[in-house]
């Protein structure tokens, strides 16, 4: 049996009726594949994994996967995940969000989860648009581009999600694309193995909404766009700011040892039980 078939049998829910909700050619399936391959490499048991999501196209991902799965409210996935993780620290908690989910409605939760450095992995599918509701602009829609609510041009400036996560205090931050699928496997594996708040931003395409409105072609040409605009972070160091202008950095943006929330809280528990026992 091919490797991918084995993984499908092992990790996908067979009692959940396919087909899935995503459009043909969508990048979320590639992200789901990377997630499953990375989990398999870590050797985590399915019972140990809690997969949490918010609302939107990416929010529908957990239902297909045979873990403890939790499809929460829009933007709030990290708050639920925080509760699960602190209540049962032995569980591996992974959160899947979209760009609107993570940095518009959930922006506050995102920076605070990073600041606390709680041991959760956040995977953010960034396709620069609200796909499920029909193509409205998101906080990562590039300046000047079109959406169904910026029919003339987007006059807002995009968040750089990964850079935001670095600044907010995450232990590990990486950016990949659905074009670079193999790299995505290894970025996710690194994130899952990391203690502390880890982020993998996944640049993806929405040809149904964003691509159509901005005349970027179908999924293939949008994947080619990712190939042509992604720049490995190691290469960028030697380049001029001018030549970086239309590029985005991929790879591991930060990987650092910072105090992890649960370890810190365990110390508080010890101090508290000594103080209360006195």
């Amino acid at each position: 049996m091919a490797e991918i078939t084995k993984l499908i049998h092992k990790y996908l829910r067979h009692d959940k009726k396919f087909p899935h909700v995503w459009c043909p050619g969508c990048g979320i399936g590639i992200m789901l594949g990377a997630l499953i391959r990375a989990i398999d490499r870590t050797g985590l048991e399915k019972d140990e994994v809690v997969l949490v999501s918010g609302i939107g196209c990416s929010g529908r991902l957990p239902v297909y996967v045979d873990f403890n799965t939790l499809h929460t409210t829009h933007g709030r996935a990290l708050t639920f995940a925080t509760g699960v993780k602190l209540a049962k620290p032995a569980l591996k908690v992974i959160v899947v969000m979209g760009d609107g989910d993570a940095v518009a409605i959930g922006g506050n939760h995102f920076i605070h989860a990073a600041r606390r450095n709680i041991d959760i992995t956040a995977i953010i599918l960034n396709n620069g648009i609200y796909g499920m509701t029909g193509g409205q602009y998101s906080p990562t829609t590039p300046y000047g581009m079109k959406s169904t609510t910026t029919s003339y041009a987007n006059i807002e400036h995009a968040f750089k999600i990964s850079e935001l996560a670095v600044t907010a205090g995450a232990s590990f931050v990486a950016r990949g694309t659905v074009y670079h699928a193999h790299q995505l496997d290894s970025l996710m594996e690194k994130a899952f193995r990391k203690q502390g708040f880890s982020v993998v931003e996944v640049i993806a395409h929405c040809h149904t909404q964003y691509g159509k409105l901005n005349r970027m072609g179908g999924p293939v040409s949008m994947l080619e766009w990712q190939r042509d605009h992604a720049l490995p972070v190691e290469k960028a160091a030697q380049m001029t700011a001018e030549s970086l202008a239309d590029k985005f950095l991929t790879g591991v943006l930060t990987d650092r040892q910072l105090p992890v929330y649960q370890d810190e809280y365990d110390r508080i528990r010890k101090r508290a039980s000594e103080a209360e026992g006195r």
Partner: protein, 372 residues
Amino acid sequence: MLLQGNEAVVKGALRAGCRFFAGYPITPATEISEILSVKLPALGGTFIQMEDEIASMGAVIGASLAGVKAMTATSGPGFSLMQENLGFAVIAEVPCVVVNVMRGGPSTGLPTYPAQGDVMQARWGTHGDHPVIVLSASTVRECYLLTVKAFNLSERFRNPVILLLDEVVAHMREKVALPTEDEIQIVDRMKPKVPPEWYIPYEDTPSGVPAMANFGEGYRYHVTGLTHDVRGFPTGRPDEIGPFISRLFRKISQNMSEIHIGEFYETEDADVVIIAYGCVARSAKRAARDLREKGMKVGLLKMNTLWPFMRSAVERVLETARMLVVPEMNMGQISREVKRVNQGKASVIAVNKIDGTVITPEEITRRIMEEA
């Protein structure tokens, strides 16, 4: 022991087995957070101050899904923010407790003054048709007992339970004798008895309450805020939606007697019955006593359960009463319900006060003398 209402809530929560609290600072509920931030870690539990009340409610639900009894405490403005995820707890049937120490509103309103303006918000604050259990305390002892009860009911029915206090009851200090350990009954959620492959997480059982597996215990299932089938998977089929939402209501409506808590004080022969809750029930009892001394047949129905509404209790006092008096620190939220049940049988007098001060016994007695 001399105890404050908010302190009694903490003691009740810990007694009930609460080991997780997520909250955001707000007057007049802050003492609950402050004390739990000391007590919970000492017991191996978790206290976390979240970035807002939306996050607090999310964290509480997450902790409960992982198998730890969890609560939050807030006041009106924070309670408004919690409504979104409160609805999630209803549809996903996640036990949890929310304490709302009511202050004057709307908006920032009167942070340090009492009110009872959130009775209807507690009932209908989150969107969509949904069942809810709301309790209300009028003494410090009740703060303790009803917090335990709130956890028990939430575990028993897999539904969020809201405990409405008011600033007076929460900050008041009273001499209380707490019940002994064996006088308190603790209820835990029913766990599946079948192996994981047979587990149907949202099964339609006669009791209406399906067994609940905690995350990480081998029962991998899907939890969603979407309307779902018995397996927990999203559904758009009318033949699955109808029975599901009906079951959510049925699990509460067929167990009213377990949920309804109140006190009938000298109502047996009463011509006039005062119906009150929270700090106002204290003034009401005094008013009933004073009027009895004057020879009037006045009684009190104190409600500790506000929702589902204590319809049968009101019907019971209507057997003798020709007048129902409903004093409330709002513009008439419970009196509307009383009128609905009354259906013209007796006259229903609403005594309303919204200036941030407590309704006094004299204000109630004066009104009854005027109307009688």
